[in-house]
Amino acid sequence: MNGTINIGEISDVMRPASTASAADEKSILDHIHSWLVSVDHKKLGLMYIMYGLAFLVIAGLQATLMRIQLAAPNLHIISPQTFNRLFTMHGTTMVFFAGMPLIFGFANYLVPLMIGARDLAFPRLNAFGFWLSTFGGLLLYFSYIGGEGLSGAGSAPDVGWFAYAPLTAKAFSKGHSTDYWTLGIMVSGFGSIATATNIITTIFCMRCRGMTLGRMPLLAWLYLIVCAMVLIAVTPLTAAQIMLLLDRFAGSHFFDTQAGGSAVLWMHFFWIFGHPEVYILVIPAFAFASEIIPVFSRKAIFGYPIMVAATCAIAFVSLSVWAHHMFTVGMTSTGNTFFVVSTMMVGVPTGIKIFNWLGTMWGGKLRFSTPMLFAIAFLFQFLIAGLTGIMMACAPWDWQLNDSYFLIAHFHYVLVGAIVFMIFAAIYYWFPKATGRLLNERLGKWHFWLFVLGFHITFDTMFIPGLLGMPRRIYTYEADRGWATLNLICSMGAAFQITGISIWLFNVFRSLRKGKLAGNDPWDAWTLEWSTSSPPPEYNFAEIPTVKSRRPLWDIKHPTDPDWKYE
């Protein structure tokens, strides 16, 4: 038999080692133990994802509390101190303990399967990175009780997720809340660097036979770029946090304005991290879209080389745009103009990608299963997110829009409208692979429509108070500014989103037990992970496959009309 795979043979060979009877014999403790000591990329990937989803829900509840407090002017439901902690923890949690674990979780799970490898390059480093990241999150949340109880001065951090100096100096942030913020993120940052190293090494060294870099699934390419960005973007934050800790504990003066230090220096260091970070969070969403949209359009991705090139361009240019977060800080007109130009430039490759997805759908046969619904919503929403970003790239207009509710609406369009939507799409798409059972389509559509509705009610409306002068991070607002009704509408959208997510959680737990069996390849897809069983055995593939094109399963399913004749 030749080196290609025949699906029928595979599913016979690949029957999961743990059949029903074998699983019953292991006790619950054994089960938990096997997960805790695992170095298997699939288990670690799932643990990352569950961890990220847990924090997504927690941070979502924090946001709900904030929206309740802001539903009307001058409410006293939540005290200012608590509110300030809520928005700090919401932002920090979502970026570092929901976003990063989720993207690393999917990378962990999918990259080896997609490139025909058995595991990541350094499995134990993988486990180390996971547990380090986990510990970071727990450290941050320990701050709620680490000080003097829930409302003491050493409670959760309240300095905003970007923790501007000198608000974080010991003089203005008493107690240890800022230290928990710093240490929690720093520790999980080390975990991120470890995982990024692992994924890069895996992609460079462990691709299966025939899979040149030009034949890798786009997801693998985009994750390669993301991990390279992690190496050079997360580390500036680590460096700045070391400086902050030295300031707070060793009495140094990096950001101590009383001794000649510079508050703006922290901003530069933070945003050199902060801007590439948002691309680190969004490029995996692009990766999921680039896998899901072709399958549900029944067409190969339009312009594979350009997609790779555009993402590389985004990665490079995103390192040069950071000070568009600092237009109001008082840079010279030359400085401001430079960052206007670079920020606008990064919009070009980003826009190209939307066109490529459109080109993929064009002329195809769209199937509106739940993953595709989320992906289509993602396209519209990411378009709006990008265009509002272009608006904010105009520095003079940014002098009005920065740090206002317009900005909040813009970045939630990116973070929720693009990233969270694609995470849901990815979950619906790959849940069958990971668990062997499909999520219920009907509940999935309920989840989708409620969530889309709630998202738009909240975030479409939210642009308007920003244009009417409402700044962010305020625990309440005056009644004479005309923001009250708009805020009420924003708050009402939260109810729909919560309902949608609850339905989804119900769907997950129900489908784990009673979902329809998925088989190897429920979506009729074309990448290697669908060639093995659902869930895959611990060794992934009985025989490492050989590939000849970008869509190895297409070649198998259409042996008279394979892709490699045309690519």
Binding site: P80, T337, R367, L379, Q400, R442, A479, T560
Partner: protein, 407 residues
């Protein structure tokens, strides 16, 4: 042998879409394409049998929004209509699209330009996406054939790279012009100089050439009738980063410790403009509010004269003045004409009653509010840096009586 060609459906066969049938008849187009890099599709057995192998219940509904969901969405929009009923003086709404000052006008014009271009881009791309989603959806009687596979197209990709690039160049140029217009504006001789010092959580306002010190309420002359009287603001911070933002007059510029920033405003009608701090600066950031009063030249002269004057030492309230000078008040607050004339941590109270508001514009200025504030500032602004003074009630009465004479 290609089977999927040139099949037409009529509208009866299209699935029902309830109240949202907007797109009439639809057709499947030819499965062959000659002008793009693509190829036809083989109709060999494996693809058919493979689609049979799919679990039967993969849902492939068309784009249907259930009617009940539509009505709920509509009901949520009704409150928007209530917005009109919100009792607000619309001249006070700090809208960035209601500019009343030269730099704000520049920004607003640029904003409208950018909005129109991005709006057109949105309409175009969203329109294409909507079209694709509707036009290329899988039909209910789909034959399961794989469609024409198109891998890319050089000319198309070049076009949709070049056009956005050109748009971006145009936007950058427009933006650069406005940046220069605002940031590098020459300061005319008639300009008024004001220093703003941001503190947690109030604004200290100084007019260096006029010798005036006040707080939170900025008085500036209005530029009317061809006469330009802009105000140039020097922005400094005493503790953490703040941001001066009065949307109708100009965008926000930060007050950064150890750095001096500058901005200018030029209000063009007399009246009140509302603003507040635009960067998170601690617990009471939300209540670090601003009021800018654009005065006619006569009003401004009158105000300056009043601010320059020292308060008379009215013997009727000397008891209150003693309370002020002998308790801790004097450590933080300066009142010109009493023994407290140096710069202090707290705001200058020399002309306290000339201001409309207290507590960084969070309270209206009345004796009752003043009394309540001194008794317990934390009640109005939890976390504020002024401690409750624990003054006895009789002392408090005398103190308030004294303070209310400081016009």
């Amino acid at each position: 042998m290609n089977k999927a060609e040139d099949i037409r459906f009529d509208s009866k066969a299209s699935p029902r879409c309830g109240p949202f049938r907007i797109f009439g008849r639809t057709r499947v187009r030819n499965s062959t394409r000659s002008n793009l890099q693509g190829r036809g599709v083989s109709s060999s057995a494996p693809s058919d049998s493979h689609s049979d192998a799919m679990p039967a219940k993969i849902a492939t509904h068309d784009f249907n929004i259930p009617p009940w969901m539509f009505w709920i969405a509509l009901l949520c929009i009704v409150p928007q209509a209530l917005w009109g009923a919100e009792r607000v003086d619309s001249s006070l709404i700090p809208s960035t699209f209601a500019p009343e000052s030269a730099p704000a006008h520049s920004i607003s014009q640029l904003a409208r330009f950018v909005l129109s271009i991005t709006g057109m881009m949105f309409v175009l791309v969203a329109g294409l996406l909507t079209y694709a989603v509707v036009r290329y959806r899988r039909r209910a009687n789909d034959d399961g054939m794989e469609f024409v596979q198109v891998y890319g197209s050089g000319p198309v990709e070049a076009a949709w790279t070049t056009v956005p690039f050109l748009i971006v160049v145009v936007l950058s140029l427009a933006t650069a012009r406005v940046i220069q217009e605002i940031q590098d504006a020459r300061k005319p001789a008639s300009a008024l100089d004001v220093q703003i010092i941001g503190k947690q959580w109030w604004w200290e306002i100084r007019y260096p050439k006029l010798g005036i010190v006040t707080a939170n309420e900025l008085h500036v002359p209005v530029s009317q009738g061809g006469r330009r009287l802009p105000t140039f603001l020097d922005l400094r911070a005493a503790d953490v980063v703040h941001s001066f933002w009065v949307p109708r007059l100009m965008g926000k510029i930060d007050l950064v410790p150890n750095k001096v920033n500058s901005m200018w405003i030029e209000p063009e009608r007399p009246g009140l403009f509302l603003g507040q701090c635009g960067t998170y600066c601690g617990t009471q950031h939300a209540k670090m509010l601003l009021r800018v009063y654009a005065d006619t030249p006569e009003e401004f002269e009158r105000w300056v004269k009043q601010q320059k004057g020292l308060p008379e030492n009215d013997p009727a309230v000397s008891a209150g003045r003693l309370v002020f000078e002998r308790t801790a008040c004097i450590n933080c607050h300066a009142i010109g004409g009493s023994s407290a004339t140096d710069r202090r941590f707290g705001r200058d109270l020399t002309h306290l009653m000339s201001r409309d508001t207290l507590a960084s514009c969070a309270l209206s200025n009345s004796p009752a509010n003043l009394r309540a504030w001194i008794k317990s500032p934390d009640q109005f602004k939890p976390g504020v840096l002024m401690p409750a003074m624990n003054v006895s009630d009789s002392d408090l009465d005398q103190l308030v009586a004294y303070l209310t004479t400081l016009k």
